[in-house]
């Protein structure tokens, strides 16, 4: 036992030393996001704000997005209750995703890169690295939890009790730990870092979708969902510490599982078996397009399945929305006044959110070309009659195609399920769903254009496109809840596009945004054509 983990502490200190900048960034980023919105919520709460928000968030559509609250009457809905209700799930998700990426980056990725081999040749236990990485992530999340709690206490809002603040911070920190253990387990099972990251994030996404369903239908069932253990602590209202205990038990079990799995496998190997391959290539592989399809296939299919499931999950809520409206006079009036049905309003918002997620796929495909380049996969190809233009435009073709199919599946999944649960009472048809989805095509193209711009001129910045996407996504998601100034909302590209079916189609905007995106693609091409290929150093 000792042998396996020998000298892990050395690695651990090494990691802290190596990562301190990243840690500060991480803790400040997630921490400020989690604790910094208090003044904004105080604004919202003014006047009738709390009551209005309480009613709005009773909508199953809203619950599916932000989670439930234990508060039953508007009178008990304090700022604290609202803050936990709207923020905690997202902060938890955020912390979780960071931890997944970090743990896999420090374990499986280093293994794939051959760094682990080097480390193991020193007097260091076989599993010391995993333990050190895990310990580091726990330390980061503890610091994060303390930072958030401190921040909340410092704001000194009446209904933010000290206990609640501590619990809020702990919930976010624990979400990070859950992400870390999920990442660690997937790092053992999958055959490579990329598939480990993909599957771990896939699990997080799946947990999110499942909880959307159980939160709406029966919150008790959410208690079985590790992701729900974050917001089910209900800080500032029930202050329930029990889920934290669940997290601890769950995490310990997962860590033991991960270490057992790791102990039983060879370095660089996974548990999913390798099949023997083909002696010679199929015709379909023998072109740049064939090759790019092959190397992107896994990622594309994975996300496409995700889009259908997500669409279907949100579609299934349409039935509950009707019931909700019938039981709530105030909301009924609100919607009657606005002139849209609740379905139409929800469809507009959710399509914006889903096309935001769909944008991930083209960005990933474009960034893949640079990843291939820097891993030297293309050196020998460059010396064939394949041109840079072929590499570039094939990639873009594939990215755009993936975006188109992504929207099709997301809108189809949403519309198909919605219409089937609504039955005769449906006020919208499939056409509306597809129109609402493809209405956002220019934003998907815009993100593709940004990614290609980076590819052509500053390929190392390709990842920043994700950051901007994440930023826009959060802005869109909360835009409806928080009352943001117009200029601020407009920094997210999707905000320029009217939301169908509530708003009508805006052809000039559609064409302009598409045009800008195409210009970005072309500018990117000129950069790509003339820059040095990055090959090692």
């Amino acid at each position: 036992m000792k042998e396996k983990f020998a000298r892990w502490d050395i690695l651990f200190w090494q990691y802290l030393k190596r990562d301190w900048k990243k840690m500060i960034f991480w803790i400040l980023g997630v921490g400020l996001f989690s604790g910094g919105f208090v003044p904004a919520f105080e604004e919202i709460a003014k006047g009738q704000g709390l009551i209005g928000m309480f009613e709005t968030l009773q909508n199953p559509a809203m619950i599916s997005m932000v989670g439930p609250t234990p508060v039953e009457t508007a009178a008990d809905y304090t700022i604290g209750a609202m803050y936990a209700h709207e923020m905690l799930l997202f902060c938890g998700l955020f912390a979780m995703i960071m931890a997944v990426l970090h743990v896999i980056g420090h374990t499986r990725k280093e293994e794939d890169l051959g760094l682990t081999e080097l480390v193991r040749s020193f007097q260091i236990g076989r599993q010391a690295n995993s333990l050190a990485a895990m310990a580091e992530v726990v330390v980061i999340n503890v610091l994060l939890a303390l930072f958030i709690s401190g921040l909340l206490i410092v704001f000194n809002v009446d209904t933010f009790s000290v206990q609640g603040s501590l619990l809020f911070g702990a919930s976010v920190g624990m979400a990070g730990v859950i992400g870390a253990v999920i990442g660690l387990v997937m790092a053992q099972i999958m055959p490579a870092a990329s598939s480990a990251t993909g599957s771990a994030l896939g699990i997080v996404g799946l947990l999110y979708i499942i909880r959307a369903g159980t939160d709406v239908s029966n919150v008790d069932l959410s208690m079985f969902n590790p992701l729900s253990w974050t917001y089910l602590t209900y800080p500032f209202t029930e202050n329930n510490w029990l889920p934290i205990v669940f997290v601890l038990i769950f995490s310990i079990a997962m860590v033991v599982l991960a270490f057992t799995l790791e102990g039983g496998r060879d370095m660089g190997a996974g548990y999913l078996p390798e099949r023997e391959g083909r002696e010679s290539a199929k015709k379909s592989l023998l072109s740049v397009r064939g090759l790019f399809i092959k190397i992107n296939k896994g990622v594309i299919i994975g996300w496409l399945i995700g889009f259908v499931v997500m669409g279907a999950a949100y579609g299934s809520i349409y039935g509950d929305m009707q019931t909700f409206l019938e039981s709530n006079e105030m909301m009924k009036q609100m919607f009657a006044q606005s002139g849209f049905s609740i379905e139409e309003s929800f469809t507009g918002t959710i399509m914006m959110v889903m096309t935001g997620l769909v944008s991930i796929l083209p960005i990933a495909v474009v960034n893949k070309l640079f990843a291939e380049e820097s891993r030297l996969h293309l050196s020998q190809l460059h010396a064939t009659k394949v041109t840079r233009g072929q590499l570039y435009w094939t990639t873009i073709g594939l990215a755009v195609f993936a975006g188109l199919i992504g929207i099709l599946l997301a809108a189809g999944g949403l519309g198909g399920t919605a219409i089937s649960v609504l039955g005769d009472s449906a006020t919208i048809d499939m056409g509306d769903f597809f129109a609402a989805g493809y209405n956002f095509l220019p934003s998907v193209l815009f993100f593709t254009g940004l990614a290609t711009l980076a590819l052509g001129w500053a390929p190392k910045l390709g990842k920043i496109v994700y950051a901007y996407l994440g930023y826009s996504f959060i802005l869109n998601y909360f835009g409806g809840i928080l009352d943001l100034p117009d200029w601020f909302s407009k920094t997210a590209v999707q905000s320029w596009i009217p939301q169908m079916p509530m708003d009508s189609f805006d052809a000039p905007i559609f064409i302009t945004l598409t045009g800008i995106s195409i210009v970005l693609l072309i500018i990117g091409y000129f950069g790509y054509k003339r820059r040095d290929m990055v090959e090692g150093a």
Partner: protein
């Protein structure tokens, strides 16, 4: 003779670092040129410039009389390249990757491919993720050798190959050499260069410091001489052109400048030679001198 590769005053900067400071040399038709130099000298950088992977800052670079950057496509139809670090897509098999390279290059020979797979003892059904360093290198070599080209560019092609496979590589290269193709071979394995190259180009810190045939280069260096004489051998130490002199009883070992060998032997004869051995410089010695320069 026609120049297949022609470099003149080639310069390349990476940020502030001047990696190439005026590289000039040629590869003639039907010639094998060994391209050698210490780590970081600029061999791979030169080759990448030739392939249009990176863009030169200044100077002239042509292959088949065409500009390597502007007309790369025309050039690439007729060249093959193997990098020193063949990186492959883990999810494809070696066989699939070879087929893909052949197809993208054009003009591949299926029979040659199968023959080479056998000669290099590669298992083409294995996913590339499972290949060792040497096996990855074989995939790159087989792909490059299976197609018909007029110029072959190898950048440390045999790194990671075992001696047996290295011998196979050398035999195959000799075949393309006999077929009259041109080859630019960068390598740290000097015996390989010694066996294959007609001419050697030595680069150091981004500059070509020597070019010539092996014989020409040998002439510029020293042979190792072991000598016993009747008279006192220690007086040899002070003859011009004698270096690294050591003596044991009446036997001396030293290295001698080849240009001054006549004078040195004349001095030795005066002492009465009883035993004489001369070892010509190996390529290794030659390069030690140049590398350390």
């Amino acid at each position: 003779m026609t120049e297949i590769v022609k470099l003149k005053g080639l310069q390349k900067k990476f940020g502030n670092f001047q990696a190439l400071r005026g590289v000039t040399f040629t590869v003639e038709a039907g010639e094998v040129v060994g391209f050698i130099g210490p780590n970081g000298a600029g061999k791979s950088t030169t080759i990448r410039t030739l392939l249009g992977i990176i863009k030169r800052d200044a100077g002239q670079a042509e292959i088949f009389g065409k500009d390597v950057w502007k007309e790369s496509l025309e050039i690439h139809k007729r060249i093959s390249y193997v990098p020193g670090d063949v990186a492959l897509w883990g999810s494809l098999t070696g066989g699939e990757i070879i087929d893909l390279f052949m197809k993208l290059h054009g003009g591949g020979d299926k029979q040659k491919r199968d023959y080479l797979i056998k000669r290099f003892e590669l298992d083409p059904k294995k996913k590339a993720k499972g290949y060792s360093k040497g096996n990855r290198q074989k995939v790159g070599l087989i792909a490059a050798l299976s197609v018909d080209s007029d110029l072959y560019i190898f950048d440390e092609p045999t790194s990671g190959l075992d001696p047996l496979m290295e011998a196979v590589f050398q035999e195959e290269v000799e075949k393309i050499k006999e077929a009259g193709k041109s080859i630019l071979l960068s390598s740290h394995i000097l015996s390989e260069v010694e066996r294959l190259a007609d001419r050697v180009v030595i680069i150091r810190q981004g500059e070509i410091i020597e070019t010539g045939t092996l014989d020409e280069l040998r002439h510029l260096t020293r042979s190792t001489i072991t000598l016993s004489t009747e008279g006192d051998v220690s007086s040899m130490e002070f003859v011009e052109g004698v270096h690294d002199f050591t003596q044991k009883d009446n036997q001396a070992t030293f290295s001698a400048d080849n240009q001054l060998i006549h004078d040195i032997l004349e001095e030795a004869i005066k002492l009465g030679i009883t035993k004489f051995e001369a070892v010509p410089p190996t390529l290794e010695d030659l390069f030690m001198r140049h590398y350390e320069g």
